[in-house]
Amino acid sequence: MDDVVKVTDVTKVYTMGDQRVEALKGISFSVRRGEFVAIMGASGSGKSTCMNMLGCLDVPTGGEYLLEEVNVGKLSGNELAEIRNRKLGFVFQGFNLLARTTARENVELPLVYARIPAAERREKALAALAQVGLAGREDHYSNQLSGGQQQRVAIARALVNDPSIIMADEPTGNLDSRTSIEIMSIFQQLNRRGITILMVTHEPDIAAYTGRHLIFRDGLIISDTPNANPHTAEVPRGETP
């Protein structure tokens, strides 16, 4: 019923010169509002390709992708930008913060492109930073922060515009296991508040914190299983670095 994401027979073909790479060979699945899904699979199996398409950074070659009932394949570049800005939040493996820019300014960026006035931007950015446990670090430059802190700034940036879905491509890939658990704890808190989260990971212990596992192989989904007892990522408060 309340499917935020509905993917039907989606294919993606990359052509480089006369070489054709079929990165997605026809995948179908749906995600209901409020789910926390892990997308797993070996390297090169098409996880990132799928995420980029779900995140409206790219459009499918074939098939249909409905995001909150909107057929994304038919939208223009500007309309896709609008959707990325208002409905989606991205978290990348490499953090992807702007250099020489403070945490608060990084978090404000989606609001700048949403044409939100400065005072309101500031307020929302501070609230988002507080949610990821970075109150007091607002004016640190991104290069003055640890990896885990940078990823938390990225999460704050992803959630600042109240998105329907957060897309995270290997968000813990560059972090140690303790910091990874902190990040998962934040994701679980956001998910409990009703935000749908799609996360790529190839680590089973990270996937264990999610409620559903989609496994890719060679551009196809080979298994789709619910995780009845997700682990709870609890990090004692106050111990966060």
Partner: protein, 409 residues
């Protein structure tokens, strides 16, 4: 509006990160605009100087010279044979309705002596009308009078250069100087006039009564002849008409006809002025094109560095696009950066150009004229260079694919 402001903030931040590079990039524009401003100032100053010099000759002037313009072979050239007379001059003044004044001249050079000072200068025999025609006031004393001319009295008025050389700071009025050993009383000192368009010192002159010059200084076998005559028309509108009247009258008086070639020439000084203005305009166009080329080179420099900047910041562009920047946001951001570079460069260039023009004017004693129009045009032009040369790199940035940009290492 907020987006433009945001783009400006982002652009300023980007330029601050690479201060040295921004400065080097701007250098082309700085030099170009400085050159434009300085050259326009110098060119405008030069043409003002030329037109000042020309108007210092007097306004609405005709020059009547003895001799034929079409002379060739063995005939003497313009200004050669003494064919004009004082009677011609008086006839022109009496009979040509468009003529206001006529100043006939007899010209020679002579040694003038006062005490133990001597100075070699131009001595010009003329009538009191000369100062009216040349629009040349007396600084001290008085002009020559009609009775000085009629009585061939030995009175004279002297230019500032002559006064400086003979008298220094002393008052020359009433002193006796010797011209070709003949004593003359200095009755007037002329105002300072400066250089003529030909570059001669107009103040290096002594005016004596026409009759005195004819009879006592430059006596010849034709005692009544004059050299050149300066004729002033009543106003600019009748200048051409005055030229025709003078020509017709002299034709009649000299019995010029099919059998007798014209033995005088009437020239219009405004033609000379037009030539001078034409050449200063050509000069300005030349200077302007040199400056435009340096602006063009500066603009290409901007384009080059903007392309480098787009490539370097591909990942940043990808991040901005992923979180919702539209193509036009990215376009505006890079365009703003290019325009900021060129306008800041333009402003610095304007400052340097103004300073440069002032230095030239001080060191080389060359007048400069800094016009606000030139400054406004230069500013708009530098912004225009930014838009023009920034557009291609900005469009390249805006048309990047978000994933390719994000994946760029």
């Amino acid at each position: 509006m907020t987006t433009l402001w945001q783009s400006l903030l982002i652009a300023m931040r980007a330029l601050r990160v690479n201060k040295m590079r921004a400065l080097l990039t701007m250098l082309g524009i700085i030099i170009g605009i400085a050159a434009v401003i300085a050259m326009v100032a110098i060119g405008a100053g030069a043409s003002k100087m030329i037109s000042d010099q020309i108007s210092s000759m007097g306004s609405n002037l005709l020059l009547v010279l003895p001799g034929s313009t079409t002379s060739g072979g063995l005939r003497s050239g313009s200004g050669g044979a003494p064919t004009l007379t004082y009677d011609d001059a008086r006839a022109i003044k009496a009979e040509c309705p468009s003529v206001a004044e006529v100043a006939p001249t007899v010209r020679g050079s002579a040694q003038v002596v006062y005490g133990n000072q001597n100075w070699s200068t131009i001595v010009l025999g003329t009538t009191p009308d000369m100062l009216t025609v040349r629009d040349w006031p007396v600084f001290a004393g008085r002009n020559l009078s009609p009775s000085d001319v009629d009585g061939a009295l030995k009175n004279c008025i002297i230019g500032q250069t002559v006064a400086d050389n003979l008298f220094g700071d002393a008052d020359p009025i009433g002193k006796i100087i010797r011209i070709k050993k003949i004593p003359f009383t200095v009755v007037g000192l002329l105002d300072r006039k400066g250089q003529s368009p030909q570059g001669t010192d107009q103040d290096d002159v002594v005016f004596v009564p026409l009759r005195t010059a004819q009879r006592k200084l430059f006596g010849s076998q034709f005692p009544n002849t004059v050299g050149a005559m300066m004729v002033q028309a009543k106003d600019a509108a009748v200048l051409d008409q005055a030229q025709e009247e003078v020509t017709a009258l002299l034709d009649q008086r000299h019995r010029i006809g099919p059998a007798r070639e014209r033995d005088f020439t009437v020239r219009n000084l405004s033609e000379i002025m037009a030539v001078a203005e034409q050449s200063s305009r050509v000069m300005s166009i030349l200077l302007g094109s040199v400056a435009s080329i340096s602006l063009l080179v500066g603009g290409i420099g901007i384009m080059n560095i903007m392309l480098v900047s787009v490539t370097e910041r591909t990942r940043e562009i990808g991040i901005r696009m992923a979180i919702g920047a539209k193509q036009r946001d990215i376009l505006l951001q890079f365009l703003t950066e290019a325009v900021l570079l060129t306008t800041v460069g333009g402003i610095i260039g304007m400052g340097l150009g103004v300073v440069g023009a002032m230095v030239v004017s001080k060191l080389m004693d060359w007048p400069t004229l800094i016009s606000s129009t030139a400054i406004i045009i230069a500013f708009l032009f530098s912004a225009g260079v930014g838009v023009f040369f920034g557009f291609y790199p900005a469009r390249k940035a805006a048309s990047l694919n978000p994933i390719d940009a994000l994946r760029y290492e």
